[in-house]
């Protein structure tokens, strides 16, 4: 992976509810990421097929916060 691509993690299904509750948002409100996104394709090599609706955690550097964790929902195509 290129150094500019931040870390992507697949959230286990059983933890999804906990995280959404913590964030205080519904799954549909989260930003999206395509299943066809190269990062998801790469992640699938590790985690097996990732179906739409799963949540991805992205850990990236932030100018204001140091390290920021953000979440995306996988969508089709």
């Amino acid at each position: 992976m290129h150094e500019m691509v931040p870390e992507h993690w697949l959230i286990p299904v059983k933890e999804e509810e906990k995280i959404l509750k913590l964030l205080g948002v519904a799954k549909g409100q989260l930003p999206k990421i395509r299943k066809s996104d190269p990062v998801i394709k790469t992640l699938e090599k590790v985690e097996g097929e990732i179906v739409p609706g799963r949540i991805i955690q992205i850990v990236r550097k932030s100018r204001t916060r140091g390290i920021a964790k953000i979440y995306r929902t996988v969508i089709g195509e």
């Binding site: 964030l23 205080g24 948002v25 799954k27 549909g28 409100q29 989260l30 930003p31 999206k32 739409p52 609706g53 932030s62 204001t64 916060r65 920021a68 953000i70 979440y71 929902t73 969508i75």
Partner: protein, 882 residues
């Protein structure tokens, strides 16, 4: 999982109106060219038939029964005696005529070819864009119009020519709209997609009008002049012409008049219909009003800057607003705006009469509409009774209405001191471009405000104009006061520091007041202090029996209680103040103990003292400090006086000699370098060619020349020099500008390089070919004061132009970029729990800015300034560096 997406307009489709549809949507068949009868009633089946809607209040629409504000208006129609072409479709008609067979109506391309095109179009519907579809259509047209023999019926077609604006000819013979229509009727439905029409919504023959839609009356209202005379809309005038000629044409046709007369009338009808749509059709004389003014018909209503789109949809005008030239007023608070009395009498605030404002409003009404007087007293322009009826207040009825006033009435009161208004200067590039101010009604004709507020508006007084909006509701006023007031916008969200501060003469004045703590005669000191509200005067000092104030003591008067601060001022820079101690500004217990107040203390966006006051005491105190500061500065500088002129750049003869020496020396050094280069004595620097190496060495020598000249100039120009005072205090300009005026202007460059373009192997014909010496490549050894020689002047102009071009390019680029950003982000909002959401409640950021910090409430972008807190808690000793 299903992701929900809110609804939006996906597609907009334009279609043609069929004659049947025009009849179906018509509420009346208009047959009379007249509008109203002698009694002023609309004539039945005339152009003002009440079936097409109503424009007079009280009347009811014959079609829907609605009154003026309920009836949307309804179309009527005119049955044309003979068909005419629609000027808006002239291009389409022409291309269809040329690409179809006049005998069988097919597109003049062989069946296989058509099939091929069809397949491509079907592709279009699936994947390709509208643009590509249009491309295919024009390809079909250009292919088919070349063909003479129809591949379907083998008919020999003739070339069709368009005789502008509306006449079609086939081999010189005129094609009547009727003939065109008959041809178009033959075109097969299946062929339509290839000529760009959707068969579901359009037929080519509908581009030839047989029925004419008459727009509703509220689209073309009758205007009643003050004299009682009625004046019809331009569209109505044009419709009258259409109906009149249409009638005559029908009569002549029915009577079997000679063909020539019928053709003339037909052409005339065509002319009227054409100008009804577009009165600026090329090749057609515009239809004119009796007065000679050309009529404003449909296209003219929409087109151009004054058209519906640019003037009414993209731009709107608002009430309760004013615009005028701005000028400065240092005696106003930064939170105030001076409004001319003339404007204040026109701008109103509507107040509802309650028990609490009853007496006040009564008095205001008694003032009447107001007249010009020494002291402005607000009056009242209109009063609304509880039933909504309006009374205009005049000097005559003022006291009468005041007595009759009741609770619940509404009073349109004129602007008074203390009203909250919004003040704005375009281009509104950031949120500080529109701030809330308190009104102060003043004489004369300009808006006025404190000079510290120039920065957020980016205003100056070389003729700038600004807009003012009067708020109309309590909610708006409260919101503006809490969020938009000038003092609430001290900290810029761009860099988290104060954007407002002292400028120009404020800095000069307070610098002069505090530099080396001058002795100020008692009287002068009192004069200065009279500009601000002070509770006491400082203790005077006595020297030789005369009493003086110390400048720093006077300055200390405006500091809030409890200021303890030490920081480096501009003079802390050793190059500006080689052996002075004025660079360390120390304030102990709100007393200026040491240092000269300068840009670093009170200047915009970098004033440490201002920043300190703002953060420690809050916005209100900060505003007060800045208000006092500007007043004190006005007092101080009006006592000392301050001016600068060209003789400020006079340097003594020995300095001139030194400067000349520096110039000559550098030029010689360059010469030497070039000699060495030619002799091959210069080694390459890494990453550079030999020429580049030489260039960089030359540039270095020449920039040293300017630095040296700057040193010499600084040496001979001291603190008794106004320009130096301004440069050192940070009020305006810098020492480099000074050195350029007094000493050497220096190298003129383009894109960071010495000037080298121009003629073959030389920049100007004044130099020899191959000359790469200092002067031949844009070095200017003259000063602005002495003046430049012609070649220097030329190079200076070239260098200057680069700056201008850069600015022009940068502003347009960044403006466009900013517009795009604003459009993309405009309806995002921060929810109460700190998330950034869009209008569909989708998350954009889980926490605003990822750290949840509002930059306009931050310390230079940081949530907390730890150094400041430590200093405040434990005193200066333990505090880190500021």
């Amino acid at each position: 999982m299903k992701v929900e997406i809110s609804k939006g307009i996906e597609e907009l489709k334009f279609a043609l109106l069929s004659p049947e549809e025009i009849r179906r949507m018509s509420s009346v068949k208009v047959i009379t060219p007249d509008t109203y009868d002698d009694d002023g009633y609309p004539i039945e089946k005339g152009l003002m038939d009440p079936s097409m809607g109503v424009i007079e209040p009280g009347l009811k629409c014959k079609t829907c029964g609605g009154k003026v504000d309920q009836c949307p208006g309804h179309f009527g129609h005119i049955e044309l005696a003979m068909p005419v072409v629609h000027i808006g479709f002239i291009k389409e008609i022409y291309s269809i005529l040329s690409s179809t067979c006049s005998n069988c109506g097919r597109i003049k391309l062989p069946e296989e070819k058509l099939k091929e095109y069809f397949l491509r179009i079907q592709d279009t519907n699936n994947r390709l864009s509208d643009i590509e579809y249009d491309d295919i259509v024009s390809e079909v047209e250009s292919d088919a119009s070349e063909v003479v023999i129809c591949p379907h019926c083998h008919f020999e077609n003739q070339k069709v020519a368009l005789d502008k604006p509306t006449t079609f000819r086939e081999e010189g013979k005129k094609l009547t709209p009727k003939e065109i229509r008959e041809r178009f009727e033959k075109i097969q439905k299946d062929d339509l997609p290839l000529i760009g029409l959707d068969p579901k919504v359009a037929r080519p023959e509908w581009m030839i009008l047989t029925v004419f839609p008459v727009p509703p009356v509220n689209v073309r209202p009758t205007i009643t002049l003050e004299t009682g005379e009625r004046s019809e809309d331009d569209l109505t005038h044009k419709l009258v012409d259409v109906i009149r000629i249409n009638q005559r044409l029908r009569e002549n046709r029915d009577q079997g008049s000679p063909q020539l007369i019928i053709e003339d009338l037909w052409d005339l009808l065509q002319y009227h219909v054409t100008t009804y749509f577009d009165n600026q059709t090329p090749g057609t004389p515009p239809a004119r009003h009796r007065s000679g003014r050309s009529l404003k018909t449909l296209v003219q209503r929409l087109k151009g800057k004054e058209g519906r789109f640019r003037s009414n949809l993209s731009g709107k005008r608002v009430n309760f607003s004013a615009r005028t030239v701005i000028s400065p007023e240092p005696f106003l608070s930064i939170n105030q705006v001076g409004v001319p009395a003339k404007a204040a009498r026109e701008l109103t605030v509507t107040e509802t009469v309650t028990q609490h404002n009853f007496e006040k409003l009564k008095e205001l009404i008694k003032n009447g509409p107001g007249k010009e007087e020494e002291v402005y007293r607000p009056g009242v322009n209109y009063v609304y009774r509880a039933d909504g009826s309006r009374i205009k207040i005049s000097d005559k009825n003022a006291s009468e209405v005041a007595e009759k006033m009741e609770l619940g009435w509404q009073v349109e009161r004129q602007l008074e001191d203390g009203d909250i208004v919004l003040f704005n200067r375009q281009p509104s590039l950031h949120r500080m471009s529109m701030m809330a101010h308190e009104v102060k009604v003043l004489p004369y004709r300009t808006f006025r405000f404190n000079l510290a507020v120039c920065a957020p508006y980016n205003a100056d007084f070389d003729g700038d104009e600004m807009n003012l909006h009067v708020l109309q509701s309590q909610e708006a006023r409260a919101e503006a006061e809490i969020l938009m007031k000038v003092q609430e916008n001290f900290l810029s969200p761009r860099f988290g520091g104060p954007i407002m501060g002292a400028i120009h003469d404020h800095i000069t004045a307070l610098f002069l007041l505090t530099y080396r703590n001058p002795l100020i005669p008692l009287e002068a000191g009192l004069h200065i202090m009279s500009y601000v509200n002070v509770s006491h005067t400082p203790e005077p000092v006595e020297i030789d029996g005369k009493k003086y104030f110390r400048g720093r003591d006077i300055f200390s008067l405006i500091l809030p209680e409890g200021v303890n601060l030490e920081f480096r001022g501009k003079l802390g820079d050793k190059s500006l103040d080689p052996n002075g101690t004025e660079g360390t500004i120390r304030i102990e217990d709100s007393k200026l103990v040491n240092g000269a107040i300068d840009e670093n203390a009170i200047g915009q966006s970098k004033g440490a003292l201002l920043d300190y006051v703002l953060r420690k005491y809050g916005n209100a105190e900060g505003a007060k400090f800045l208000d006092n500061l500007t007043r004190l500065a006005a007092g101080a500088i009006s006592y000392t006086g301050f001016s600068t002129g060209i003789d400020d750049e006079d340097v003594p003869g020995e300095a001139k000699a030194q400067l000349r020496e520096v110039g000559n020396e550098s030029v010689q050094k360059v010469e030497k370098l070039i000699e060495n280069y030619k002799a091959g004595l210069i080694g390459m620097e890494p990453g550079k060619t030999l020429e580049d190496t030489l260039e960089s060495m030359v540039m270095k020598v020449l920039s040293q020349a300017r630095e040296k000249s700057s040193e010499i100039a600084s040496h001979y120009l001291g603190m008794d020099n106004s320009t130096v005072i301004m440069a050192r205090s940070g009020a305006r300009a810098n020492m480099m500008n000074l050195a350029q005026m007094a000493g050497i202007i220096g190298q003129q460059s383009i894109r960071g390089q010495r000037q080298h373009r121009g003629y073959t192997n030389r920049t100007l014909p004044h130099f020899e070919k191959g000359d790469i010496g200092a002067y031949a490549r844009g070095f200017v050894s003259s000063s602005y004061k002495e003046g430049l020689n012609p070649t220097e002047y030329f190079f200076h102009a070239t260098g200057g132009r680069e700056g201008l071009v850069d600015i022009a390019v940068r502003t347009s680029r960044s403006g466009y970029m900013q517009r795009r950003l604003i459009n993309a982000l405009e309806d995002l909002k921060v929810s109460e729990d700190g998330r950034v959401l869009d209008t569909e409640n989708s998350v954009i950021q889980l926490e605003y800015g990822e750290d949840g910090t509002d930059p306009s409430r931050s310390f230079e972008g940081e949530s907390v300034n730890v150094n400041y807190l430590i200093k405040e808690m434990f005193g200066n000793k333990y505090g880190g560096k500021k």
